[in-house]
């Protein structure tokens, strides 16, 4: 399902790479709420029946995360607060070999982990984009 930007710009596909999906979503147990919520959100995104409530990521974010060129969706989709949508997907805008653009999922995880040892989704996205934690 493509993202349809405003202003008559061409739609941009939304992609979930198999490597990223395995590392970000399938790290959770089969029965975990996080995994179930990610699967449900992906299905909704790929079905294309829901308007997506995108947010921009920050080039200089809290905890020294640097996520230029990235956007995010809260999960479950359509919810806002940290308790209503405890998880998030982060996507990077990429250019494919045929020069088309796509939003590629780079991280999934908790937005505000209760356990301070747990890396949040923004730290995971930073690590994927920069090769190390901030």
């Amino acid at each position: 399902m493509p993202d349809r930007p405003a202003g008559g710009l061409p739609p941009v596909s939304i992609e979930f790479g198999s490597v990223e999906w395995k590392e970000e979503v399938e790290r959770y147990d089969h029965r975990s709420p996080a995994r179930a919520q990610a699967q449900s959100a992906r299905k909704t995104i790929e079905t294309g029946t829901t308007k997506l409530d995108w947010k921009r990521c920050k080039a200089d974010g809290p905890g020294a995360t640097r996520l230029p060129g990235a956007r995010k969706l809260y999960v479950p989709l359509g919810r806002q607060g940290a308790s209503g949508a405890p998880y998030g997907f982060v996507f990077q805008l990429i250019q494919k070999p045929d020069d088309s653009l796509a939003w590629n999922m780079v991280a999934f995880g908790e937005r505000h982990p209760a356990d301070e040892r747990t890396r949040n989704v923004y730290e995971r996205a930073h690590k994927r984009l920069h090769g190390r934690y901030p």
């Binding site: 590392e23 921009r56 974010g61 070999p97 923004y122 730290e123 994927r128 920069h130 090769g131």
Partner: protein, 72 residues
């Protein structure tokens, strides 16, 4: 009976394999290190797939009306 301790001389970024599973040595939040399943760097995935990060101009063109929040 005391458990024998295996001492490992590891540095951040190294990969180790334990019982057939790979882990990466990463910093913890207390000045030490810990092991966690690796996150494949985007640069490596781009090289394999022939993709690259889109330009800042393309991102801004598509995201001009997309709001920020108070998170990352």
């Amino acid at each position: 009976m005391a458990t024998a301790v295996k001492r490992l001389d590891l540095t951040i970024g190294e990969l180790v394999e334990v019982a057939g599973r790979r882990y990466e040595v990463v910093p913890d939040r207390e000045g030490g290190v810990t092991l966690e399943p690796p996150i494949t760097p985007a640069a490596q995935l781009h090289a394999h797939r022939g993709t690259k990060p889109a330009s800042k101009e393309d991102f801004e063109r598509l995201s001009a009306d997309v709001p920020y929040d108070d998170e990352g």
